[in-house]
């Protein structure tokens, strides 16, 4: 279902063609990173730290180097020591520990050998002498007075201090007079919340094949969300010129933010350089869970004031994130997470604190789900206290265009109210709550980002087209690029071939994150097509012998008064005689990414004797701006929701006291399976983003923000007790029920 506002009459945009890369993916031909083998390749394996925090006193690789099949061994000493403050120092340190191992699973050395088994055996034979250091495992431990340092290199960003600290970022936000507002409030609800570490859980483990030639040039076959970032990070970590490195984007088997940084490629490159052979490294699932991702655990305290007539007058809170062993991914965690309600008075502080756990990575709308879980829970409790409808309460306080975000800065045109109304009016919300069940509402949003993209559009001799971009296709973006090109050129979408090109074959393009591919790369495609249409009109003017001003481009043909329309294919057929090949490249740094809001509604039942929660029905409404390919917009909404349901109910890292992850498998790290979920009904709301030629907003991230609050609110209404700790696993729910 789609709810649309004033949408132009498009021919291709908004249709649902079969994706161009689909055939290869249903017949098993698509090549993901691990599907690549190079002649003569070696296999890499890692030695990882068994300690949560330890100084590396010595590394003896001699026994490993003497073993059968071993061709190269590398350690931290094989990489340049980037200075503190270098933007890729944390990437480098995480790839390969230099002096200190900062979490269980931190790479200490790597081996390349003829077979994987030989490489693993040799890695195990490397002897490392450690001096154990104190392990900081939780947010509370990290921020405690006198806490040992999790990473002595860390400085608090923008604090002006050069003293080592566990605090990566401290971000206060304030407006109005919070104290006065709470004084005057009719209703105040305050709660504390916590959430566990969770992993992105992409099904494809990280993998790469790297071949460094004797000429020093490196060919990298990698699975990533952005191969230009792989190139730039690898260049920085290796100390190489960027131009030495060519990164070829393999198909990517899921990323969700977790493949926006690198773990393997520079190590494989060094091993390849040393051995003179291509080197393939494929992580095991165990390694993926122990040493990549995850998203930060959090703790929060949220207090909200309201009047009896339902105005939310103030929010006061603290949200802390345990960001893992380095601070570079912490950014202003949380700061961009509070912007859905007007809150005339606001006082928040967001903290990112280091722990001896894997360096955290982005996970769909990073830091927003933890915040939304807490805030949406408190708002729901206020609705219960005021005995008011949870959607009406939110409608009364929802931000609209011009309202300020928590950081300052007014919202552009946004569709939050429209999403609330879409759920309110939905068949689901209007239907009675099933017997024995309860219904929850939750909301979320993400700003989305623009950033740099490039696109080249080539018109072929026969009037077909090739659209070349540098954004890896994670979930159908090739089809979206082709649809926008089809609309611009007036060409059948199936006569367009969308291509994701390597770093030497298309202009620089930032990583696919922040829901930016269809927005920013799409904008580059549209710009290129528009320039191309200008060129087509000029060629048509030459052919017709008229001024270019006399040519219009209508439905894929040049139209000149008094002549039959001149179809695109007739112009490309005469390209040689009218000036040569028809090709245009466009590049941009896209501003104006549009925030995307979502409102979720779910029905749950709770087994009062076992604490088991069953999700019975789920509906999501999200503002897509304009859905270029509605099926893949729905897919993003459904996929984010399913991940959020996992985060809400069962997913969590379980650590032993020494920092060892105890559940590093898909058996015990419990992502939802098909039988855990109902259909996820979708309502695409289309409030066009004025900054995009088709009104696109990114849709990839927002879907994961509302589910935890939505489900917590439903479970709390079903059970009569407020659930404040994620995951809401059966033991935790049963304990909460006992405390009623």
């Amino acid at each position: 279902m789609t709810v649309t506002e004033n949408r132009p009459d498009y021919k291709w945009v908004g249709t649902r063609p079969i994706r161009h890369d689909g055939y290869d993916k249903v017949v098993g031909k698509a090549r993901f990173a691990a599907d690549r083998n190079s002649p003569g390749q070696l296999h890499g394996a890692f030695l990882r730290s068994p300690h949560g925090h330890a100084r590396i006193l010595s590394v003896d690789t001699s026994a490993a180097e003497a073993m059968s099949g071993v061709k190269a061994v590398v350690t931290g000493a094989d990489f340049p020591d980037l200075p503190i403050g270098h933007p890729e120092r944390d990437t480098a340190v995480n790839l390969m520990a230099r002096d200190v191992a900062m979490y269980v699973g931190h790479v200490v050395a790597a081996v390349a050998a003829s077979t994987r088994a030989e490489a693993e055996a040799a890695a195990a034979a490397i002897e490392v002498e450690y001096e154990l250091l104190p392990v900081v495992l939780s947010l509370d431990e990290s921020i405690a007075d006198g806490a040992p340092l999790a990473n002595a290199d860390n400085r608090t960003a923008f604090s002006g201090s050069d003293d080592p600290s566990n605090l990566a970022t401290v971000t206060p936000l304030e407006r109005g007079d919070v104290d006065a507002a709470f004084e005057a409030a009719d209703v105040v609800v305050e709660r504390e919340f916590d959430t566990a570490w969770v992993h992105q859980g992409y099904i494809e483990p990280h993998a790469c094949v790297v071949d460094v030639g004797a000429d020093g040039k490196a060919e990298v076959w990698a699975s990533s969300q952005g191969h230009f970032r792989v190139r730039s990070q690898a260049a920085a970590v290796l100390g190489w010129d960027t131009a030495r490195i060519k990164v070829i984007p393999a198909e990517i088997g899921g990323g969700f933010g977790g493949k926006t940084t690198i773990y393997l490629e520079p190590v494989a490159a060094r091993l390849s350089e040393k051995s003179g052979r291509p080197v393939k490294i494929v992580m095991t699932r165990d390694e993926v869970l122990r040493a990549t991702g995850p998203a930060p655990a959090s703790k929060s305290r949220i207090r909200i004031a309201a009047t009896n007539d339902g105005e939310l007058t103030a929010i006061d809170g603290w949200i802390g994130y345990a960001v893992g062993c380095t601070g570079d991914m912490a950014g202003f965690v949380g700061a961009m997470s509070v912007a859905s309600y007007k809150f005339p008075n606001l006082k928040m502080e967001f903290v990112g604190a280091l722990t001896n756990t894997p360096r955290s990575a982005a996970y769909r709308a990073p830091s927003a789900p933890q915040a939304a879980f807490a805030i949406e829970s408190v708002i729901d409790e206020i609705a219960q206290a005021l005995d008011t409808d949870p959607i009406e309460l939110r409608l009364k306080n929802a931000v609209v265009e011009g309202d300020l975000t928590s950081m300052g800065g007014p919202h552009p045109r946004i569709g939050f109210v429209e999403c609330l109304e879409a759920i309110r009016d939905s068949e689901h919300y209007q239907s009675p709550v099933p017997d024995g069940a309860a219904r929850g509402i939750g909301t979320g949003f993400w700003f989305n980002i623009g950033e740099q993209s490039s696109a080249t559009v080539n018109l072929n001799e026969d009037g077909t087209a090739t659209v070349i971009t540098g954004s890896p296709d994670i979930g159908g973006s090739r089809a979206s690029m082709a649809l926008m090109a089809a609309e611009e050129l007036g060409l059948d979408v199936h006569r367009i071939t969308p291509v994701v090109a390597d770093t030497e074959s298309v202009g620089f393009t930032d990583v696919t994150e922040g829901s930016r591919a269809t927005f920013a790369t799409g904008m580059a495609v549209v710009n290129a097509c528009r320039d191309l249409v200008g060129e087509l009109k000029a060629r048509a003017a030459t052919i017709r012998g008229v001024e270019v001003d006399a040519v219009a481009w209508v439905d894929g043909a040049a139209v000149v008064d008094g002549h039959d329309p001149l179809p695109l294919a007739d112009i490309t057929a005469k390209a040689k005689s009218t000036g040569g090949p028809l090709t245009v490249t466009a590049s941009l740094n896209a501003g104006g990414a549009g925030p995307s809001f979502a409102v979720h509604c779910c029905d749950v039942s709770v087994d009062e004797e076992t604490g088991r929660v069953e999700v019975l029905r789920y509906t999501t409404a999200q503002d897509a701006g304009t859905a270029i390919h509605p099926s893949y917009v729905e897919g993003q909404m459904q996929g984010g929701t399913a991940q959020g349901i996992g985060w809400a109910l069962n997913e969590e890292y379980v650590y032993a006291d020494d920092g060892t992850m105890l559940n590093a498998s898909f058996l015990d790290y419990r992502v939802p399976v098909a039988s855990d979920l109902p259909m996820i009904e979708t309502i695409i709301v289309e409030v066009p983003n004025p900054a995009h030629p088709y009104g696109v907003r990114g849709v990839g991230e927002t879907g994961i923000v509302p589910p935890m609050g939505t489900i917590a609110n439903a479970v709390s209404r079903a059970s009569g007790v407020r659930l404040t700790s994620l995951p809401m696993s059966p033991p935790k729910v049963l304990a909460a029920l006992d405390d009623r």
């Binding site: 649902r16 079969i18 994706r19 890369d21 689909g22 055939y23 993916k25 249903v26 017949v27 098993g28 031909k29 698509a30 090549r31 993901f32 691990a34 599907d35 083998n37 992105q200 859980g201 992409y202 099904i203 494809e204 483990p205 198909e251 990517i252 088997g253 899921g254 990323g255 969700f256 494929v282 095991t284 699932r285 994670i474 979930g475 159908g476 099926s631 893949y632 729905e634 897919g635 993003q636 459904q638 996929g639 929701t641 399913a642 991940q643 498998s665 898909f666 058996l667 992502v671 939802p672 399976v673 098909a674 039988s675 979920l677 259909m679 996820i680």
Partner: protein
């Protein structure tokens, strides 16, 4: 099975894969998944976990679904193996492949080969499954992109088409 119960550590395996007779040598401890991918270059089946928990390596062995990561390569001796590369009939996609495409049942596509094989096994045995039966039959295949909605709907649609075709 051979009467010579004791084998060398590298075993000659003879079986059919997607209808073709194939022979290959495999280390005894290697998984059938690795043998298919590395010896036969059939990389459709993926390793997502290596422990039977994700289903990305699902193949048909004598008509039944198996995690090829849990099979030792020599176990394939004499078996009929079908991988995702073998479920289309010539140029004609299997109805499941077609409905997966039309129904946008794949996003990243890395789990798709396993889902297609599992869903084919389900429909071969139960031409008219309920939504719940589909969900439980596919519970051994993890997908992290789609939330399963479009996968389940595509299997339902393929079931309708297959029943129509066999009428």
């Amino acid at each position: 099975m051979s009467n010579d119960a004791t084998r060398r550590s590298r075993t000659h395996v003879s079986c059919t894969v997607n209808g073709d007779q194939v022979d290959f040598l495999a280390d005894d401890g290697t998984s059938l998944l690795d043998a298919l991918r590395d010896e036969l270059d059939l990389t459709g089946a993926k390793e997502g976990c290596g422990t039977g928990d994700c289903g990305a390596c699902t193949i048909l062995v004598d008509g039944r679904i198996n995690c090829s990561c849990l099979m030792f390569a020599p176990e394939a001796e004499g078996c009929e193996i079908v991988t995702v590369e073998g479920i289309a009939e010539g140029d004609h996609l299997h109805p499941l492949q077609q409905t997966f495409l039309e129904g946008a049942a794949l996003q990243c596509g890395v789990c798709t080969p396993g889902f297609l094989v599992s869903a084919k096994a389900l429909l071969d045995e139960n031409p008219d499954p309920t939504e719940t039966e589909i969900r439980y039959a596919l519970a051994g295949n993890l997908c992290r992109c789609t939330g399963y909605d479009k996968i389940v709907r595509s299997v339902q649609e393929a079931a309708v088409q297959l029943r129509g075709a066999s009428r």
